[in-house]
Symmetry: C2
Subunit: 379 residues, 2 copies
C-alpha cells in the first residue's frame, strides 16, 4: 500500500459517510458537514465529483429564514439504479431501486418453476428485468434464491434441486451484461429491513416460511451469513430430539412443526389465502394448526435468542400474513424460555414489507455495496 492508498482510504471512508447521510435524507453541504462531522470545505470537495458524475444533483436554493439559502443535494433522479430479482418456487419477482431508497418499478409473476432448467428460468428473469430497467445507469443485479449460497454458488436448495451448482450469477450477468450477486432469500429479506431504512434496529432476526423456514440474522448492523452460508437455518433447530423425522436426516426440526406446508395440512387448507380466511372466520381447525405452529416456532426462536442475543424478531413472508394468529403462541414460548425473558424485552413484529421484501433486499444488496464502496459509483 502506498501512502496515496492510505489517504485514498480516508477519502473513500468519508465519501461513504457522506453517502450514508444522504441515504438517510437529502441535505445541503453545510447540513451534511454538521451531520457527518466533516468540514464544509471537505464537503464541497467530496461532493464535487459526485455532482460532476451525475450521482447527485443540486436542488434550487430553498428560501428558509435568514442567510444565504442552502442548495440541498440529493441523489440524481437520472442517477444509477440497482436491480433486484428473486427466483422462487412459485414466483419470480424483479424490482428497480434508486440510491435514495425509492422503488421505481416492481413486478411479481406467479410461475411454477420447479421443473424448469436454469436456462429457462434465467431467460425469464432476464426478460422481466429488461422490461423494468429504466434509461439510467445500472449498478448491478442482486439475485435472491431459496437456498444456501456460498462463494456465489447455490450449494443447497431442497426445493429447486435443478438449480443447485448452476452458475446463476454469471449466466444472468452474461444475458444482461451486468454484475450479478447471488444471495439467499432469507438473508435478503432481512437486509430489506436494515437497508436503506432501519425497520427493526441493528440487531434482529427475520423469519419467514415457504416450504422451509429461513432466518436472516442481522448482528451489529450486518447480515450474518456464517462461514459457509449456512447461518440462520432455524428450520433445522431441534425442538424434540426424538420427534418427527426430517428430510435433513435429523429429528424434531422446527420445520416439521411450523413449516407452511405443515400448517396448511393440519388446517386442512391448500393455500395461504384460504387459511387466512378460515382464521378470520374463527375456524377451530385452522386456529389450532396455527397455534401449534406458533408454539413450535416460539421454542425454536427462544433457542435462537439464547444463542444470538438479539432483541427483535421480525415475522416475514407467510408468517407476516398469519402473525395476528401466530404471535401469541410464539411470544408466550419466548417469554417462558428466553433467558431473563422478563427483563430483557423481546420484541416480535410483523414485517411491513409484504411480498416484495426479498426482491427489495436483493436490490438493496447492490445499492448498499455502491454506497459502502463509493469507487464503484465512478465506474
Amino acid at each position: 500500500m502506498t501512502t496515496v492508498d492510505h489517504l485514498r482510504q480516508v477519502r473513500l471512508g468519508n465519501l461513504r459517510t457522506v453517502l450514508l447521510a444522504l441515504v438517510d435524507r437529502p441535505g445541503s453541504r453545510a447540513d451534511l458537514a454538521a451531520r457527518t462531522g466533516l468540514t464544509k470545505a471537505t464537503l464541497s470537495n467530496l461532493t464535487e465529483p459526485l455532482l460532476a458524475n451525475g450521482i447527485l444533483v443540486e436542488e434550487p436554493a430553498t428560501l428558509a429564514g435568514m442567510g444565504r439559502p442552502s442548495k440541498p443535494l440529493r441523489f440524481h433522479p437520472d442517477g444509477p439504479v440497482a436491480v433486484g430479482a428473486e427466483i422462487n418456487v412459485s414466483h419470480l419477482a424483479v424490482e428497480t431501486l434508486g440510491l435514495d431508497g425509492e422503488t421505481l418499478r416492481r413486478v411479481l409473476v406467479p410461475t411454477d418453476i420447479r421443473d424448469a432448467t436454469s436456462d429457462e428460468v434465467l431467460d425469464r428473469v432476464a426478460e422481466l428485468i429488461r422490461e423494468i430497467i429504466p434509461a439510467r445507469p445500472v449498478l448491478g443485479v442482486g439475485l435472491a434464491v431459496p437456498g444456501v449460497v456460498h462463494d456465489g454458488v447455490l450449494v443447497r436448495a431442497p426445493n429447486l434441486p435443478k438449480l443447485v451448482g448452476a452458475p446463476l450469477a454469471a449466466d444472468l450477468g452474461l444475458r444482461l451484461n451486468l454484475d450479478v450477486e447471488l444471495d439467499n432469500e432469507a438473508n435478503l429479506a432481512a437486509l430489506a429491513h436494515l437497508w436503506p431504512r432501519h425497520l427493526a434496529g441493528e440487531d434482529f432476526v427475520h423469519v419467514s416460511a415457504d416450504v422451509g423456514i429461513g432466518a436472516g440474522v442481522v448482528l451489529h448492523g450486518e447480515v450474518y451469513r456464517g462461514v459457509s452460508g449456512f447461518a440462520g437455518e432455524l428450520g433445522h433447530v431441534v425442538i424434540e430430539r426424538n420427534g418427527v423425522r426430517c428430510t435433513c436426516g435429523s429429528r424434531g426440526c422446527v420445520e416439521r412443526y411450523a413449516g407452511l406446508d405443515v400448517i396448511l395440512r393440519e388446517a386442512g387448507r391448500r393455500r395461504l389465502d384460504s387459511l387466512a380466511k378460515a382464521l378470520d372466520a374463527g375456524d377451530p381447525k385452522a386456529l389450532s394448526a396455527v397455534k401449534a405452529a406458533g408454539e413450535a416456532l416460539g421454542v425454536g426462536l427462544a433457542t435462537l435468542m439464547n444463542l444470538f442475543d438479539v432483541p427483535t424478531v421480525v415475522l416475514g413472508g407467510s408468517y407476516a400474513v398469519l402473525h395476528e394468529h401466530l404471535s401469541t403462541a410464539i411470544q408466550s414460548e419466548m417469554d417462558a424460555r428466553v433467558l431473563a425473558g422478563g427483563e430483557r424485552h423481546t420484541t416480535l413484529v410483523a414485517s411491513p414489507l409484504g411480498e416484495f421484501a426479498v426482491v427489495r433486499g436483493a436490490a438493496g444488496l447492490v445499492t448498499r455495496r455502491a454506497v459502502q464502496q463509493p469507487e464503484r459509483l465512478f465506474a
Copy 2:
C-alpha cells in the same frame, strides 16, 4: 475529527499491524516491513517510540548469511504485562501474561466462595494478584466471572448470586489502582483460544461446563457477546420442548441433560476426577452417563451450528477432561443433525489449555486491547 486525527488513525492502524506481526513472532525491521506490507522507512519510524518507551528491545545482530545482519525486535523482557483473574464457584485463579503471549506466573487456589461477600472475594483476589505481579508496568486486569456481564456489570450469576450487581471491576480497580475489565468466563475461555495464538481458527465455539453450560462464540476472529451479553447460552438451548423442567423456567434445556452436576449424579460420583477414573476403568454407569450427556450436548451443538455456521467446536473445562468418552456421542449427533453435516467438515477438539484457559483469556483481554489500541502502551 481534525486532519491530524485522520493521519493519527492511519499511524495507529499501522502500529497495530506491526504489533500484531510481533505477537506472531519477533522480526527485524526489514522482516516486519515485508510481513506487514509497509516500507522499511515506516517501520523505522513506527518502532522508534516503541523502543524508546521500553515496549520493544532490539536484539544483538544475528549473523545469518550475507549482507548487513538484522537486529530482530521483540517485546521487551521488562515491558508491560497484563493480569488475568478468575472468580469461580470453587476456585480463584490469577495469571500474568506478557505481550509476547508468554505466561509469567499463574496460581489457582481452590476456594469455596459461594457464601463470601464481594468484598471478601475481591480482597482475596487482590492479594493473589499482588503476589504474582512482577516489577514491570501493568497494563490492566481482566476479570472473569461465571455469569452474564453487560456494560461492565454482572447481571446474572445463578451460582454466585451474592456478586450480582456489585461493582466488581471498579472495586478491584480501587484495591490495585489498575484498570479492571469484567467479562464472562465462557467468552474468556474462548478468547484464550483465539489470542494470542489461533488454536481453533477464526470461527469456533468453545463449550465448557461447571454447574451451567457456557459457550463462547468466536465469529470472524471476534468474540461475539450479543446485544446484552447473553449470547452463547447453550445451556438453555431446548432439546426436548416438553422435557425436564429447568431453573430458568423453560423445559428440556441442554443443561438439564449435559450439565456436569447431572453427569456426576447419573454416574454416581461426587467429583470429576473420580468420574474420570471410573471411565478409564470402564465403569458402565459412568460410561452411560457420559454417553447420555454427549448425546444431549450433541443435539444442542448441532442446533448451534445450524444457526451460527461455525466449523469448529472446542471442548473445554470439564468437557475437555471427559472428551475421550464424550466425543463419539457428540460427533454422531452432530453428523446426523448439522445441515449438510457430511460435506461440511465439523471439527470437534479438546482444548489444550487445561484449567487455566479462563484466566489466560482474562489476561489476553488486556494484552489484546493494548495491541489493538496501541496508544494505551504509551500511557
